[in-house]
């Protein structure tokens, strides 16, 4: 194999726990290898150039949602971003805005998602608690199951939250991830909650009526989820509760 080209990484560095540290951009050089992803590159940089570099990866296969960061202006999953995508060989990495910064490229999306789930009660509220696991299960429309799975594909990577200007301005805004999940349970025939119940949770300025439809969520979602359609659906549904 021929010698790979030189890549230049501009990486945001800041350790908020270090008393005298200030946010800065640091340049690193690295030789590209075939099939190199940002995951591979960052690990190489850490092993060979700066062992203190912080970032998060878990599955490294685009499944777990740990590694979202802003790459050349677009928030996305770093593990499945090939460096070959950047013809100039210049790659700027920033942590996702809108989340608590742990250090460098590592942000606390987990804490955010858990708090959101608690606040919006993002779990199935079954219609009956009297369920026997020994008996035949209740049937469900196969198409409904398939539709629900489509909405379940969210990996809580936080990209939609960071790409949402509304969320940046209004800290309490639930973001696309929250609304998508509400829409998922709203469409689930097994869930006991009514449109009125959901209105109490997201029928406000922090929910569907605060959303300005800027669609940073839809345009950046690594799982190509239908945010625009789902949030519009939810908004219509919530507005319909005004009429009886």
């Amino acid at each position: 194999m021929s010698q790979g080209r030189q890549l230049t990484f501009n990486i945001f560095r800041y350790d908020p726990q270090e008393p005298n540290d200030k946010p800065k951009m640091v340049r690193y050089q690295l030789t590209e290898t075939p099939g190199m992803t940002v995951f591979i590159a960052l690990n190489k940089l850490r092993e060979e150039q700066d062992t203190s570099l912080q970032f998060d990866f878990v599955c490294r296969a685009g499944i777990c949602g740990s590694c979202a960061m802003v790459i050349n202006g677009f928030p996305t999953l770093a593990c499945r971003t090939l460096t070959a995508k950047y013809p100039k060989g210049e790659i700027t990495l920033m942590p996702l805005p809108g989340f608590e910064l742990i250090g460098d490229l590592s942000v606390n999306t987990g804490k955010f998602m858990r708090e959101l789930a608690e606040r919006l009660k993002l779990w199935l509220h079954p219609k009956s608690n009297d369920i026997s696991v020994h008996r035949l299960e209740d049937p469900m429309d196969p198409d409904e199951a398939a539709r629900l799975y489509e909405l379940e594909r969210c990996v809580e990577c936080g990209v939609c939250v960071s790409a949402c200007a509304t969320k940046q301005m209004r800290e309490t805004f639930v973001g696309a991830v929250g609304m998508m999940k509400i829409a998922r349970f709203e469409m689930d025939s097994r869930d006991a909650r009514t449109a009125e119940d959901f209105y109490h949770v997201i029928g406000n300025q922090d929910g569907v009526f605060g959303c300005m439809t800027l669609l940073g969520c839809q345009d950046n979602c690594p799982k190509d989820l239908p945010h625009m359609q789902q949030i519009a659906y939810l908004r219509r549904k919530m507005a319909m509760t005004l009429i009886r």
Binding site: V208, L215, Q218
Partner: protein, 223 residues
């Protein structure tokens, strides 16, 4: 079916009224511009339009009721006020919010967010210019004909208000309608979204062209 008016659901009402007032204003705006552009067909055409606006066909002397124009101006002012008050809640009012927005937009490259920022900026400009326009028309309703308008625009230098107003309002309205369509689910998939975006741009360009042409068409009438 009954409509429930509850304070509890004020958010839904606010959001609905923003969309609704915006749509009405945009429809009025475009109608208005089409009517004004009658000058392109000559002063007779515009005279006819202006007289009809004043409901001349109802009055015996054919002069109509110029107060109707004042009424329309006041109605639009009221609608615009509602639109502004509701929309203001969505704008970054505090310094902290403005900083957060600026930071995010520096880090993340997203065209629809930039589009929205233009909408916000044009909105603020319209907020300053529209009252001038409405006052001028509302206080002198009898001057909406070709001569009166031409005199106002070119001799009194009001074109310095009208030209920026035309540009901002046509951008603002088209972006706004585009967003309302997406907001309530008119675009079922991304393909129709990009199509909507194209239509939006065409509408803006078209009306700005017609508007500028109309402004220029008044020039010969200003003597």
């Amino acid at each position: 079916m009954a409509i429930k008016l509850t304070i509890k659901k004020s958010s839904a009402w606010l959001d609905l009224s923003q969309s609704l007032s915006g749509v009405i204003l945009a429809v009025f705006l475009w109608t208005h511009l089409v009517l004004v552009s009658s000058i392109l067909l000559g002063s007779d055409a515009m005279n006819w339009v202006a007289r009809t606006m004043e409901l001349s066909f109802l009055s015996d002397d054919g002069h109509g009721y110029p107060l109707v124009v004042t009424g329309i101006a006041m109605g639009i002012a009221a609608l615009a006020l509602v639109h502004v008050l509701v929309a203001l809640q969505k704008l970054p009012m505090s310094l902290r919010q403005q900083r957060a927005l600026r930071q995010q937009m520096q880090v993340i490259n997203h065209s629809d967010t930039r589009l929205w920022r233009w909408q916000a900026i044009t909105g603020v400009v319209i907020l300053l210019l529209l009252p001038v326009h409405l006052w001028l028309i509302g206080s002198a309703p009898e001057t909406i004909g070709p001569q009166g308008s031409a005199d106002r625009i070119w001799n009194q230098g009001v074109w310095m208000v009208y030209l920026p107003l035309l540009l901002t309002v046509e951008l603002h309205a088209a972006i706004g309608i585009y967003r309302v369509a997406l907001k309530w689910g008119a675009a079922r998939d991304l393909n129709s979204r990009s199509r909507l975006r194209k239509i939006k741009t065409i509408v803006s360009v078209l009306f700005i062209t017609v508007g500028i042409a109309s402004l220029l068409a008044f020039l010969p009438h200003a003597s």
